[in-house]
Amino acid sequence: MVSNTIKLSLGSILFFLFVACINENKINIKAQKKNSLPDSCRYYAYDARQIISNLSCYNCHIRRGERLNNILSFDELATMDSSKLVNFVFIKRHNGNYSMKGAFKTNRMDTLSDCEIKNAIHYIKDYGRDIPMP
């Protein structure tokens, strides 16, 4: 009788521990989903510049003080606020040309991760800040 009670108690403890572990995992997963960008998403100016260079942004958005064919210059892009930039640069303004099915699919923007997009925007914003380079 006593051993049965002990077995039942141990079994219950094990069951509750099991359930507690599963719930803890679920809580962790929810917490991770809350932050859409991983902790490893850090800004490195050199890498962000490579994204801009590989997308060949500077050919049409000329760096400073001059517009080509009335296209905003790069320093003009830098004056936009970040949320407007995401919308302007990556969604609307390029008319889907840089998407997977667009005319410029080899340079498509929809292969950029959220982290790369965030860093590209950071780079564009920094361009207007004239941060000295050592």
């Binding site: 060949s56 760096r63 001059e66 410029f104 004239d130 050592p134």
Partner: protein, 271 residues
């Protein structure tokens, strides 16, 4: 063609007719484009890049000439060999009319076949700085410190504003590391700093323990892209980037006066 382009072209042609030297940090002649018909444009041109050095040190800089000669040689050699960029989206080029169609886009590979000659010259008066000339100011010391991506603090031997802006070097640090002048000038030509410790052999690595001073093909392509910032200007034949609205002297003045940069120099020389 826009009104500004026409004015630029007019100025350039007048200068050539008067046999005057074109001015500005970048002067290009014999510009032309070759289209292979399979999506590759090769850009040709003879470029002269002038970097003006301004000595602002208190006690003078006796080794300045040799440092300038070294810098001139390294800039010329690093820009040799041209550059290549693939997947460049631009406007469609018509080789028979030698013009770009600004209503139609095209993806090209661009081969930069530029012959670049660097001139590093000393100037003695501020009036010798005009428009958007490139300038490298030599100062006594730089107090600016930066924290690298690993969290370590470093002193700065030089400091520059990117993409055409002024560059400044500390004379003593330049004597210790002759490549600092080139490193800062390449910021002016659009390159960024490298902090990845696996790339210590690169000239733009800036954490002080370089094993070599190489430039990658991609970086060379980026600098060529800066030199010919507007590819459609290639059709003009000659080109002098003298944007008077981008005033180097004012930019340098603001840069030197910015206390966060911590420049120590002879202020009497900058009046």
């Amino acid at each position: 063609m826009m009104a500004d382009d026409l004015i630029d072209l007019f100025k350039t042609k007048i200068s050539l007719l008067q046999n005057q030297a074109l001015s500005g940090g970048i002067v290009a002649k014999n510009l032309h484009i070759s289209d292979n018909g399979s999506g590759e444009l090769t850009l040709y041109g003879d470029f002269t890049i002038t970097l003006k050095v301004l000595d602002l040190t208190t006690g003078g800089a006796p080794n300045l000439n040799s440092l300038m000669t070294f810098t001139q040689q390294v800039i010329t050699s690093k820009l040799r060999g041209g550059g290549y960029k693939s997947g460049v989206i631009y406007f469609e080029y018509n080789s028979s009319t030698k013009s770009f169609n600004f209503r139609k886009n095209h993806t090209y590979s661009i081969r930069y076949n530029f012959s670049c000659n660097a001139r590093v010259v000393q100037i003695n008066m501020l009036s010798q700085l005009k428009g958007n000339d490139f300038v490298l100011a030599v100062v006594d010391s730089i107090g600016y410190q930066f924290t690298d991506q690993y969290g370590k603090k470093h002193n700065s031997g030089g400091l520059a504003q990117r993409d055409g802006g002024p560059a400044v070097v500390s004379y003593n640090e330049w004597r210790k590391n002759k490549y600092i002048g080139v490193h800062e000038f390449f910021h002016t030509l659009g390159l960024g700093d490298i902090e990845d410790v696996s790339k210590k052999g690169r000239l733009m690595y800036h954490l002080g323990d370089n094993t070599s001073y190489n430039i990658s093909d991609n970086e060379r392509g980026d600098m060529m892209n800066f030199l010919m910032r507007n590819i459609s200007d290639m059709t003009k034949g000659t080109y002098s980037y003298t944007n008077l609205n981008y005033n180097t002297l004012n930019l340098l003045s603001r840069f030197l006066k910015d206390t966060t940069n911590g420049f120590k120099y002879n202020k009497a020389k900058f009046r």
